[in-house]
């Protein structure tokens, strides 16, 4: 756990450098929003935002406040960054968690189906489908799903977020189903491919032959002996996928008008709102590191050989 601290430090430093490499600062971003700032206001805003100080000083000051748990305030909305992130975080968690669930719930059975009978019609169909899925950009898929299920059929709402606490699970799920599908599509095919190739390989192994030889029914062989082994790489890709999902969330949130972290960070970068950018990057890094830690812990559950003491 301690080892993650330098990683986080490096990530925030990199984010800080990247944002400052972009031309312009928060004040010029404001000016460019066409309302036309008074030059005197322009100067005093720079002072107020602390943009007159040199870059290293600003970074160190930000770190100093961070060490006492203060993420600062957004330059533009004047809201505490922590509050802003906490308000947006649940949406993104629901979005990515749902996408992970869907990708596993759909991907694992399909992958097993294909892997059990390699080169069969089902396998070829699923492989072709998977290739198509990998090649489909999520913004296009999102628009297409919205067009079919919201606009043409009218089965689902085309936009908006309903929190599960105030509106109940079902209303939330209705609004999230299209975003979930959009975000999970690429992950589903990833899981299908992993499970398929794992199954194909494992089904020829000795212990499977042994299991069959001792008279176990085929389902038992697959679900108890094969699946556990197949799942290890699936957990690896899912752990890694958290990072991808967070970046994919940006597009999905824009298409379905979800007030999550993805749109927050895009706005913050475009407007050079440095405290917000840093806050989101930090949260994303913590989530990604947390996901790989969790994946590591799960290996142990599945495979006794990699249990940690």
């Amino acid at each position: 756990m301690i080892a993650t601290a330098p990683v986080l430090l490096l990530v925030t430093l990199a984010a800080f450098m990247l944002v400052t490499l972009l031309p312009g600062d928060a004040v010029s971003a404001l000016l460019a929003s066409a309302e036309g700032l008074d030059p005197r206001v322009e100067e005093s805003l720079r002072l107020q935002f602390g943009l007159d100080r040199p870059l290293p000083v600003r970074y160190v000051q930000w770190l100093g406040r961070l060490s006492v748990g203060d993420l600062g305030r957004s330059l533009l909305s004047r809201q505490p960054v922590l509050d802003t992130i906490l308000a947006r975080l649940p949406v993104t968690i629901i979005l990515t968690a749902g996408a992970i669930f869907l990708s596993l719930a759909i991907g694992i059975p399909l992958g097993l189906l294909a892997g059990m009978r390699p080169n069969s019609l089902v396998d070829r169909f699923l492989s072709a489908f998977a290739a198509l899925g990998v090649a489909t950009p999520s913004f296009w898929l999102g628009i297409l799903l919205g067009f079919v299920f919201a606009q043409s059929l009218g089965w689902l709402p085309s936009f908006g977020y309903r929190g599960p606490v105030e509106n109940g699970f079902w209303l939330m799920a209705q609004h999230m189903l299209l975003p979930w599908l959009t975000l999970s599509a690429a992950r589903i095919v990833e899981v299908v491919r992993q499970v398929r190739s794992g199954t194909v390989e494992i089904m020829t192994q000795d212990f499977i032959r042994t299991a069959r030889a001792k008279g176990l029914p085929e389902r038992m062989v697959v679900w108890k002996h094969a699946l556990k082994n197949v799942l290890v790489p699936v957990i690896t890709v899912t752990g890694l996928a958290v990072g991808h999902l967070l970046s994919g969330a940006v597009v999905v949130e824009v298409i379905f008008l979800l007030p999550g972290m993805g749109t927050l960070v895009v706005e913050a970068v475009l407007q050079r709102d440095f405290p917000v950018t840093q806050g989101v990057v930090l949260t994303g890094a913590v989530a990604t590191i947390g996901a790989s830690l969790m994946a590591d812990a799960l290996y142990g559950l599945l495979d006794p050989r990699i249990r940690y003491d």
Binding site: G36, S158, R219, L258
Partner: protein, 521 residues
Amino acid sequence: MIGQHTCSLRRHRVAFLLGVVALTTLVTAALPSLAFQQTPARAVHIRIAAVEPNIKNYDPHKGFSGLEHRVLYAVFDQLVRFDRSGNFVPGLAESWEWPDARTLILTLRRGVKFHDGTPFNAEAVVFNFRRIMNPEEQSIVRGEWAGVESLEVVGEHRVKITLREPSAAFLASLTDRSGMMVSPTAVRQFGEEFGHRPVGAGPFILQAWVPGSHATLVRNPDFWEKDFPKADRITVYQFKADEPAVRGLKAGGADFMQGVPAKDVEWVKASRNFDFIDRPTVSALIMSFNLTRAPADDPHFRRAIQAAIDRRAILTVVYGGIGQTGTSLLPKGFWSVDPVMLAPAYDPARARHHLSLSKYRGEKIGIVVSPDDRIVKTAQLVQQFLGDVGIQMEITPLPGPEQLARFFSGREFHGRIGGWSGRPDPHINYFAVIGCGGSFNVPRPRGFCDPKVDELLAQGSATRDRVQRQKAYYALDLHLSDQAMVIPLIHESWAVAIRKNLGGFTPYLFGKPIYKELGVK
């Protein structure tokens, strides 16, 4: 052994079945029911699809973007309002008088309260004005108050403003952010949070705002205009792009959208559910130059560009014919624009003639554009028109901050094709774009200073007499057109889709819908 296996097999099967059941319930439960709950009869709830990215706060004195106005107008009433054609009409100020050219006395409406019950009176108004003028408050509109010498409460409902010199544009600022009155109690109570918990005296109360999602406005039962607002509740869905907003409309999730993209206009017109309205606004698409940089400093060269562009084609191809071709910074129909003035003619022969007189020698000129679909398409057409007469043009799409750092600073590029959002008074518009020291005049901060422009600008702002002002602005438009200093291309119309059972939408020239007027027909 066998028994144990069967048992665990059963367990797995049960778990698998449970998984399948859970998934199917999830899908089927979501599918059949139409997700949009109809509001109960009588209470009028209007859902608006708005493309409003980057809204950061709803403090009228401290906001940043012109897109905030739609909600600001609903929450905050203004001292002075404008009617459809841009004339001043009373708002929270019942009347006003100018005892002399430098003194303005506002008489305030009686019996008005802010949403939190704070009485609206002269003291509240002066609190607002002082808040704007206080340098520590960093108000975005402090510049409008630079010419104010003093403020004085002259009675419970009268306020006297003394200006340093006569200004025709000052009253116009009271129709905008400067005239939007905030509750002093709420400002003191909420401090920096005020922009997220705005309290005004307008027709609606901001009940909830989820940044990045929506704003919910509910009727203010104590609003002083008894006939307004027409709706009980308005939800503004704040989309970040056109596409999802239009889909929201088509899928039945919204009742109103202003700014339907050209490609979807035909759909609205053919729709059984929506009416289509279009009206010009003060916003303009213009081509402007760094007038200090060769060859754009040469009037012959700019005249060649002006004559080479076929505005009609741009209007048809990019805007689907919705809007008007530009003659001035402001559209035809606005009081300061000469109704008989013609848009510069499309005349390639004339363009070639001017080009032969110019110092242009075949080099590539760099034009910066905003990365907006319509603007980029327009720029591509312009590129083609200029190519036809022998001018090589290169397009660079850049977001605002980069434009500011690279073009407005005067460092790179020869010109820009971009939007100008338009302001209520002609002086504010012309000064910003072409006045000496205007914020959009390149290179910042001073820009290119043309003595004739400054003289006509001074004439236009020295008097409140509309005929005198018209004379100045007509002359200014002719001068700008003759010198081709700014080339107006298109005045975009807001294409509006409104559900057939709704009415009351008035298109204002300022392009911002007034939500209190929306209601059931």
